[in-house]
């Protein structure tokens, strides 16, 4: 990148050297949308929301500070506790299952099989669909009167009960099933890319040493794929915190508030309950959750390399 500078230096010798701020002007003009988005929307919007989460804004945002009142109220609201519990259950299970299933599928796909493209197309197509579509399909499949439960009962097992969407104890698993159906294809793809990045010689060496395949996977390949796992983990985790559309479509947060999630809590308090302060406090907690996941990762991924 030395050339543009040397050219502008050569021009500067003849004409009066342009101001430092006008140099490379076109590039700066082209970057105005990015600068505005980064500074005004992302940085400004976030700071604004955090600031107003310390106020008692209700219908309209007002700058009358009440300290951490909103947060105290948030953590003593039963509905918020339910959403946090749901998020934790859903998040942990969804991480475990999507990583396991995604890796297993990728490992199967990596056995030099035929029809690899066909299988990949099938595993990945749910990812192209919106959460709304996913939620509505699974709402129908899990429908107690006509869906899986009814079909199994009609086959003779009359006491069979699998009714996650109308049972508040297990409703979050119903959502988990739909989410896994939609998301595991992506994990499979990322894992497969990681597996393809493993040197073929590793496999040859382990075969020569007579190490069984599953041991090679667990003790050699998976440790080698650490960066892929970490990236996938961050991608899944930051998606988990945002889960919203799926719940809205599949259960609308019901039965009652049993399948509420933080994102829905935020939306409802901001746009229906007209309690903006609560909404801001809850969304700040969401931001904090993401920060806890992303900051250590970004530090390990980029911080270390820059210094090195």
């Amino acid at each position: 990148m030395t050339l543009p500078i040397s050219i502008s230096a050569a021009q500067g010798a003849q004409v009066k050297r342009p101001s430092r701020y006008l140099r490379n002007l076109n590039s700066k003009i082209a970057s105005i949308p990015m600068v505005l988005t980064a500074v005004v929307v992302f940085l400004g919007g976030t700071i604004w929301t955090i600031l107003y989460s310390f106020t008692n804004s209700r219908l309209l945002p007002r700058l009358s500070f009440v300290g951490i009142d909103q947060y105290e109220r948030l953590w003593s609201t039963a509905r918020w506790m339910v959403s946090i519990q749901n998020l934790a259950t859903y998040g942990i299970l969804s991480l475990i299952f999507s990583l396991t299933i995604g890796f297993l599928l990728a490992a199967l796909m990596d056995q030099k099989i035929r029809f690899e493209n066909t299988f990949r197309t099938i595993f990945l197509y749910p990812f192209a669909l919106s959460f709304i579509v996913t939620g509505l399909v699974w709402q129908w499949i899990l429908n107690p009167e006509f869906g899986v439960q009814a079909v199994v009962r009609s086959m003779g097992w009359t006491s069979f009960a699998f009714d996650p969407l109308y049972d508040s104890d297990i409703v979050i698993y119903g959502i988990l099933i739909a989410a896994l159906w939609q998301g595991t294809g992506l994990v499979m793809c990322l894992m497969l890319a990681g597996l393809r990045g493993i040197d073929e010689d590793i496999w040859k060496a382990s075969r020569v040493d007579g190490i069984p395949m599953w041991r090679t996977y667990i003790f050699i390949v998976i440790p080698m794929m650490r960066p892929v796992f970490v990236t996938t983990l961050v991608i899944i985790a930051s998606g988990i915190v945002r889960i919203y559309d799926l719940v809205v479509a599949q259960t609308s947060g019901g039965p009652g508030i049993a399948s509420d999630v933080p994102a829905k809590y935020v939306y409802d308090y901001m746009f229906f309950a007209q309690n903006l302060g609560q909404g801001f406090a809850a969304s700040t907690m969401m931001l904090l959750t993401v920060a806890i996941i992303v900051v250590p990762w970004a530090y390990l991924e980029f911080g270390g390399r820059k210094r090195g």
Partner: protein, 310 residues
């Protein structure tokens, strides 16, 4: 240095992945191991295909048949009535003009959003790759970190700004929002692509006296059509599938298809017509599915880059 912000270590892998399997074909086809591998994969494939199958068969049945039979059985009598009803006369609240309104709203939102967001991000990525100025990396870093911030954090300030601009509730406001939130991932995509092009091309054009826009339109643009297609796939599916922004930033008359679909299916009034619901669901999923099946490997490349968007 350039790699330090390449948040996608898997992008290279995705290219390798789309190159297909490598090495020799297996010699024996019917070994025990192969039966297990194909058995497991086929089992998984059936599980993934089942919901699509259920959607299709349900949407082709009449309501009496749905009430009697089970959801997995193929239709005894194929009827396209549910499709017609979903498209033209399904009700949301008092409106009974079907999903078609949502469809055209979505088209009106998606087309300009895709064009605007890609135009901005490609020029921006080009500026970041070839015309770096002081501070550019800082703003870019904020932009990428911003991609991880939950949307809920930024929604309300945007509502206020749009209200001030008089754009709240209009399609233009939503287009602006989509352009803003598409920026991180698209800028990253274009920047990484332009960085990977040989620098000599840029230098040669510079020596020949081409300026910022000339190089962009006459050299970079023609050379980067594949990445434009990837960006388009990413944006078309992403914007079509959006629900949150649609529900927050538009009014019932301008609701995009996903929001209208949810209102039709989850409306509490009236008798539930599952066949119409499934036809409506399929109609909404049709555009991204067509994009997916037509684009194939490019889609994989897009999601490997777009995965950050979550």
């Amino acid at each position: 240095m350039d790699k330090s912000l390449t948040a996608m270590p898997n992008l290279a892998g995705a290219d390798r992945l789309s190159a297909g399997p490598q090495g020799k074909r297996p010699r024996k086809v019917l070994s025990g191991r192969n039966i297990m591998v194909y058995g497991a994969l086929t089992f998984a494939a059936i599980y993934y295909l089942l919901p699509l199958y259920v959607m299709v068969v349900t949407s082709l049945k009449g309501m009496p048949e749905i009430r009697m039979g089970n959801i997995f059985s193929p239709p005894m009598e194929i009827t396209f009535e549910p499709w017609a009803k979903a498209w033209a006369s399904a009700c949301t609240g008092l409106n009974c003009d079907g999903l078609s309104r949502g469809f055209w709203n979505s088209v009106k939102i998606m087309v300009p959003s895709v064009i605007v967001s890609i135009a901005i991000a490609s020029v921006n990525g080009y500026a970041l790759a070839n015309w770096k100025f002081k501070g550019a990396e800082l703003f870019f870093t904020i932009l990428i970190i911003g991609a991880f911030i939950p949307y809920q954090v930024m929604i309300y300030p945007i509502v206020i700004v749009l209200r001030e601009l008089g754009l709240y509730g209009t399609i233009y406001g939503l287009i602006l929002v989509h352009s803003i939130f598409g920026m991180p991932i698209l800028t990253l995509l274009f920047r990484n692509y332009f960085v990977s092009l040989p620098e000599e091309l840029f230098k040669a054009a510079r020596i020949d006296g081409a300026g910022f826009w000339q190089i962009y339109f006459r050299i970079m643009l023609p050379m980067s059509l594949p990445i434009f297609v990837v960006a388009m796939i990413l944006q078309v599916t992403g914007i079509w599938n959006d629900f949150l922004f649609g529900v927050v930033f538009t009014r019932p008359e301008t609701y995009p298809m996903t929001v209208q679909l949810n209102n039709i299916v989850n409306s509490v009034q009236g008798v539930k017509e599952y066949n119409v619901n499934m036809a409506a669901t399929l109609l909404t999923g049709a555009i991204p599915l067509i994009v997916y099946f037509v684009s194939g490997r490019l889609f994989v490349r897009g999601i490997a880059a777009g995965a950050v968007k979550g």
